[in-house]
């Protein structure tokens, strides 16, 4: 079964719904056990700088991030609203596909303050196993290098 655009769209829709609905415990399940999730900036990419604001090269590290957000880290109650654009599929085989998808994330604070928190692109690699489509790699490239206050929830 080829990785069709419909499958990629369905995964992306489920992914943003998971974060925006505060179902973070399910967020790592979008990824393969061996994966790369990195939040970086266009400027760092351009300069070839490898460090991320968030960097996880196993699903375990994603699970740990959720656990830290739930049990350890202190931040004001907030939520995101992700708006993702259309994926531009850059390669598409039977087992692997790659796409680039623009996103806009609005952050809503508990007191109602609502601001554009981040814009950028998801640079993704998906892998299929039967009916299952998972993210092997998601590089979140933020357009701006400025982050307001802190980045608690993932993008």
């Amino acid at each position: 079964m080829a990785i069709t655009i419909e499958r990629i769209l369905a995964l992306q829709a489920a992914y943003i719904r998971c974060i925006d609905n505060d179902a973070l415990e399910s967020w790592p399940d979008f990824f393969l056990d061996e994966c790369l999730y990195k939040v970086t900036t266009a400027d760092n990419e351009k300069n070839g700088f490898e460090a991320g604001i968030i960097y996880a090269d196993t699903k375990g590290m994603l699970i740990d991030r959720v656990a830290a957000l739930r049990k350890a880290n202190v931040y004001e109650k907030q939520s995101y609203r992700h708006i993702v654009g259309l994926p531009n599929i850059t390669s598409n085989g039977a087992a692997e596909a790659q796409s680039e998808t623009p996103f806009l994330v609005v952050r809503i604070m508990h007191d109602g303050q609502t601001d554009i928190f981040a814009t950028g692109v998801y640079r993704d690699t998906y892998r299929a196993a039967g009916n299952d489509l998972k993210i092997a790699k998601r590089i979140v490239v933020c357009d701006s290098s400025r982050i307001d206050t802190l980045m608690a929830l993932p993008l």
């Binding site: 830290a68 202190v74 206050t149 980045m151």
Partner: protein
């Protein structure tokens, strides 16, 4: 609408009186984080006064022609590596009408030309050419008495220390080693002991006055109370020992913790038992794979230099942070993460993973991006009230404990000396 103002209930626009008894370091009046006149005074007396401002890493202007733009307080600055192999810095302000000379964050240039009327500067900040200086067809042009060398952006003095570039507008600032103090200088050299490679740059915008962040970095008291990542996941080593040094000026400090080798085995055993508790174990403990790269067992060192510099070693994640005021209520925190030129692939990966500990999303630092804002919002109506900074007494001396606010008091000692408030 008529407002009756009686002599007994006078209505006045005057802010709470700005009073602060001389020498008082255990009480901090909240107007110091709010008053616009303080912000203006800080530009003159702190940033343009006898201090060394951290500008950038030498590695960021490594080759002749490389430049970076940055700030000294609110003053825009260009740092450039000239063809004579020296590093120069000057105000990023055209001598003509005052426009920015460089409009981007850095790059490579042979010289600079202001976009407005094309006045041209060399990499030292000297005015080299004025467009139409002699006029056109014998008309116009600069006055006869105009001399290019009389005009130019303000030039900074530069001090290089262990790969850090500092700048100052003052002729009275002490030499950098003296400014840092012996112990702080030694602790900078401990980390920056070989060529560095930049691995990332991020700006965190803090919704608070810059001093609240600077105090926060110096405040060892809050570390284990606000940041509970290590304790939640039972990573705190009981055998951890710590201490702190404060420079004679009070403005610079280093706090550090290291493993007590004698008790290490026993504590690791204790940790093993605890990590049986699935709820509080990391799924992927590779984050904690710490290498003792400096060979001294010190796994955490946080160091500050007044008025705008932080050097961070948290395990193997290394960064410098530059603190820049953006108005009285906002601060830009510029993170530059780095490793060393001779890092092995394993060490590179280790640093990438451990970078999760610090930065805007850092497990042990994200709270610091917000807590200054909690104070700024909390004291909104309390300009006449005061903070209490009494943990560990009233002194600013070195302490063998982290349960002290000595280095916060050191900050205020240094700040008050510069500001004359």
């Amino acid at each position: 609408m008529n407002v009756n103002v009686t002599s007994t209930g006078a209505i006045s626009n005057a802010a709470a009186p700005m009073e602060w008894p001389a020498g008082e370091l255990t009480r901090i009046p909240f107007w110091i984080y709010q008053a616009p006149e303080i912000y203006a005074l800080e530009q003159q007396r702190v940033y343009e006064g006898p201090v060394w401002n951290f500008l950038c890493l030498e590695a960021e202007v490594a080759k002749p022609g490389d430049y970076r733009t940055t700030f000294m307080g609110s003053m825009p600055v260009i740092v450039a590596h000239d063809t004579d192999d020296e590093i120069y810095a000057f105000e990023n302000r055209c001598a003509h009408r005052g426009a920015l000379i460089a409009l981007d964050s850095g790059g490579h240039a042979r010289d600079f030309t202001c976009v407005y009327h094309a006045w041209n500067y060399d990499l030292k900040g000297n005015l080299k050419a004025v467009a139409f200086e002699d006029g056109v067809n014998g008309k116009g042009g600069m006055g006869k008495t105009f001399c290019r060398s009389d005009h130019g952006p303000r030039k900074l003095r530069i001090a290089l220390f262990s790969g850090l570039v500092f700048g100052s507008l003052s002729d009275d600032v002490p030499p950098i080693e003296e400014y840092l103090g012996d112990e702080i200088a030694t602790r900078i050299k401990r980390v920056l002991h070989k060529p560095v490679v930049v691995t990332g740059r991020f700006t965190q915008m803090l919704q608070n006055n810059w001093k609240l962040y600077f105090e926060n970095v110096k405040d060892t008291y809050h570390a284990s109370l606000l940041h509970t990542f290590f304790t939640t996941f039972r990573i705190n080593r009981l055998s951890q020992k710590g201490g702190m040094v404060v420079s004679p000026s009070g403005g610079n400090h280093a706090s550090f913790s290291f493993i007590d080798k004698q008790n290490q085995e026993r504590d690791y055993a204790a940790m093993g038992i605890r990590s049986d508790n699935e709820d509080f174990a990391l799924k992927d403990p590779s984050l904690l794979d710490n290498a003792d790269e400096f060979g001294d067992g010190c796994h955490m060192q946080i160091l500050t230099v007044f008025p705008n510099f932080v050097l961070q070693q948290i395990q193997n994640t290394l960064a410098v942070r530059q603190i820049l005021p953006k108005g009285q209520m906002q601060t830009a925190l510029n993170w530059t993460t780095f490793g060393f030129a001779d890092d092995t692939p394993e060490m590179k990966t280790r640093r990438l993973r451990q970078n999760n500990l610090a930065g805007p999303a850092g497990y042990v630092s994200m709270e610091d991006g917000a807590v200054g804002g909690f104070v700024q919002r909390g004291v909104a109506a309390a300009g006449g009230e005061r903070a209490v900074v009494e943990m560990g007494g009233s002194g600013t001396a070195n302490e063998g404990t982290r349960a002290t606010e000595a280095s916060v008091r050191g900050f205020w000692k240094c700040y008050r000396a510069h500001m004359g408030v």
